[in-house]
């Protein structure tokens, strides 16, 4: 009997068997499948790309572009939850998600994710421009197929390479507004790309047990916490000057430069603390502090870029 249950649970995860939780899902559960917290960061970084891009874009078209990028990111999140339902069920952080908790079936999540992916890419391509639609399709493909299905369970570099998917929204938004790509949005992508490893590895340092139990080869599990601390410090030392580089290229003003250098110095300080404090509660506190501050750091960088663009637009 337990074999049958296990088999059913497995096929259910793959979205092949009759759904377990059919009829129990509320709209809130489907919204949860879209990973709203990740979506809010995607909307914010995409908004910065949209506002900073050259050329005039009608507010209705800009709103449509942002909506498509947000829904596309959410669809990728739903497909990620469909594929990862088995490991989500054993990790404490993700046990309450709609599929492991039985509120939404794997099949429902798969259909939801595929439908929203097709709609978001199609609408962005048809109503805004083809380049933006193609870039959004690539972003969803990269997150779902390259990161979720391939890298996440096979290499400790999973979040390094997979981080590209999370970094692309400003480029998609830029393409939506300008119908072209230039160095500035690529720099924005690079900043998020190099921010991702220290951010996620700081979390993985104090969640390593969870990842080990789920069989996810995060760096602290495969290479150990000390090597992870070294890598966090190296990535942070590269990230901080990179994040300040838009000033050198003439893309950003003094306010951005001050924020990038001031908060960047704090990032380095916290990364050094993570590197030095390796034992006990102090080590956990240091990793949590870096994880929390890294969110504030990225948010502040993009908020300043947005603020400068708005002030520049009002003045000139």
């Amino acid at each position: 009997m337990s074999d049958v249950s296990a088999s059913l649970a497995k096929t259910e995860t793959a979205g092949l068997a009759a759904p377990v939780g059919e009829g129990l899902a509320s709209p809130k559960d489907f919204i949860e499948l879209l990973k709203p917290r990740v979506m809010s960061l995607v909307i914010f970084t995409a908004l910065v790309g949209l506002v900073r891009a050259p050329g005039d874009i009608h507010p209705v078209i800009a709103f449509t572009a942002l909506l498509c990028i947000a829904v596309g990111a959410g669809a990728a999140g739903a497909l990620n939850m469909w594929w990862d339902a088995d490991i989500d069920a054993v990790m404490t952080r993700t046990q309450g998600r709609p599929i492991p908790s039985g509120r939404v079936s794997g099949q429902e999540a798969l259909a939801f994710g595929l439908t929203l992916s097709a709609f978001s890419v199609g609408v962005l391509g048809l109503l805004v421009n083809t380049l933006a639609g193609a870039l959004l399709a690539f972003t969803i493909f990269f997150y779902v197929v390259v990161y979720t299905m391939w890298l996440k369970r096979t290499t400790s570099q999973n979040i390094v390479i997979g981080g590209l998917a999370g970094a692309l929204p400003p480029l998609v938004a830029w393409a939506a507004a300008a119908d072209s790509i230039s160095l500035e949005p690529v720099l924005l992508v690079a900043i998020i790309f190099f921010w991702t490893p220290p951010h996620f590895w700081a979390l993985a340092l104090y969640r390593a047990g969870d990842y080990a139990r789920a069989g996810v080869p995060m760096l602290p599990v495969t290479a150990g916490p000390d090597e992870t601390r070294r890598q966090i410090l190296l990535y942070t030392l590269f990230l901080v000057p990179l994040a300040a580089s838009p000033v050198a290229f003439g893309y950003a003003g003094l306010a951005y430069g001050a924020v990038a250098i001031g908060l960047g110095a704090m990032m380095i300080r916290l990364a050094v603390r993570v590197y030095r404090r390796r034992e006990g509660e102090e080590a956990v506190r240091a990793a949590k502090a870096l994880f929390g501050f890294s969110i504030l750091y990225l948010f502040s960088l993009f908020a300043t870029l947005l603020g400068e663009a708005i002030v520049g637009g009002l003045l000139g």
Binding site: L24, S26, P27, V60, L127
Partner: protein, 61 residues
């Protein structure tokens, strides 16, 4: 000939019977889908007007 059964017309209690909670959630899902569809109608209308712009009046009669 006499043992041919007369078909029973389907009643309300045939098939899957949803609990009141399932019915409530199904209704909530239906309302959400209706709201999304209504929103998309408005969005496509607005984008059409924006894309056509003044050309909406520029046509042979």
């Amino acid at each position: 000939m006499n043992d041919v059964k007369t078909p029973v017309p389907p009643g309300d209690d045939d098939g899957v019977v949803l609990t009141p909670e399932q019915q409530r959630r199904r209704r909530a899902r239906n309302i959400a889908i209706a709201a999304v569809l209504g929103f998309l109608v408005l969005l496509f209308y607005a984008v059409t007007i924006v894309k056509l712009g003044p050309n909406v009046l520029n046509r042979p009669l």
